[in-house]
Chain length 152, copies 2
């Protein structure tokens, strides 16, 4: 995979930090011509290295006070219908099938611990085929800024 070079990595690193900078501004920062940067960004979007532009929302400001990860074991025969049921649960943010002690790891958000508890017991715990759940309530989270480099 030699499709992307160092400049591409710099572009996605910068856009990860601030996806709203204008191309002319970024071109000055990176010391490349604006025309070049326009075609690069367009290419990165076209090749899907940039999947999408988005925003990061501070959910604590709109009443989301609790985030948690939940480990789940399930009946393998009911895999698909469980996945569908999880998709329908609005408090679930992501669903990962994993190796190891659990079959699935979920990321959840809720207004408070009580609501989280209700979701865990009343909604997720009652999905047919879910054998046991274990909840890890997030106390503090640190996200790192992604820095991309050429690796191959």
């Amino acid at each position: 995979m030699h499709k992307f070079d160092e400049l591409d990595m710099k572009i996605i690193t910068e856009l990860s930090r601030d996806g709203n900078t204008s191309v002319p501004h970024l071109s000055k920062k990176l010391g490349v011509n604006t025309s070049v940067l326009y075609s690069r960004v367009k290419r990165l979007v076209k090749k899907k290295l940039i999947k999408k532009f988005t925003i990061v929302v501070d959910e604590s400001l709109i009443g989301i006070g609790v985030r948690a990860t939940m480990g789940i074991n399930r009946d393998p025969k009911l895999k698909d219908q469980i996945h569908k049921a999880l998709l329908k649960t609005p408090e679930i943010v992501s669903i990962s099938e994993v190796t190891g002690r659990f079959d699935i790891l979920l990321t959840l958000r809720a207004r408070n611990l009580e609501e989280l508890h209700t979701v865990a017991i009343e909604k997720i715990g009652k999905i047919e085929g879910i054998q046991n759940t274990e909840t890890f309530v997030e106390l503090q989270k640190t996200d790192k800024d992604a820095v991309y480099t050429v690796t191959e």
Copy 2:
């Protein structure tokens, strides 16, 4: 917290989906005046409900073949220095302190299983005060689009 209304929620939902739409375009979609939308977006950024604009990168295209979650138990006395050591490990994407069976959940990325294994054993496992680790390799992940609504 009655600071944000339905229009604000629509704005952040749309910008989550596409953080690159122009304000005039969005104003047509939402049926509100551009002037209104300009002041709204500015306010949302100022109030930090929109933490930042960013991009989503498809890491599989640049050689990141494996993602995993790792549960860790640690010596509580060495909490801070462990956190620092984890911050320095480039393969670690996020660090969450949690309740339950583990003290910390990490998100990791690596080029392949071998590299993940090396990071787990040689880097993370050798940090002083880390008592045991358990790795959950991601086989398949589903992320949901966030949809924000007024909740209070």
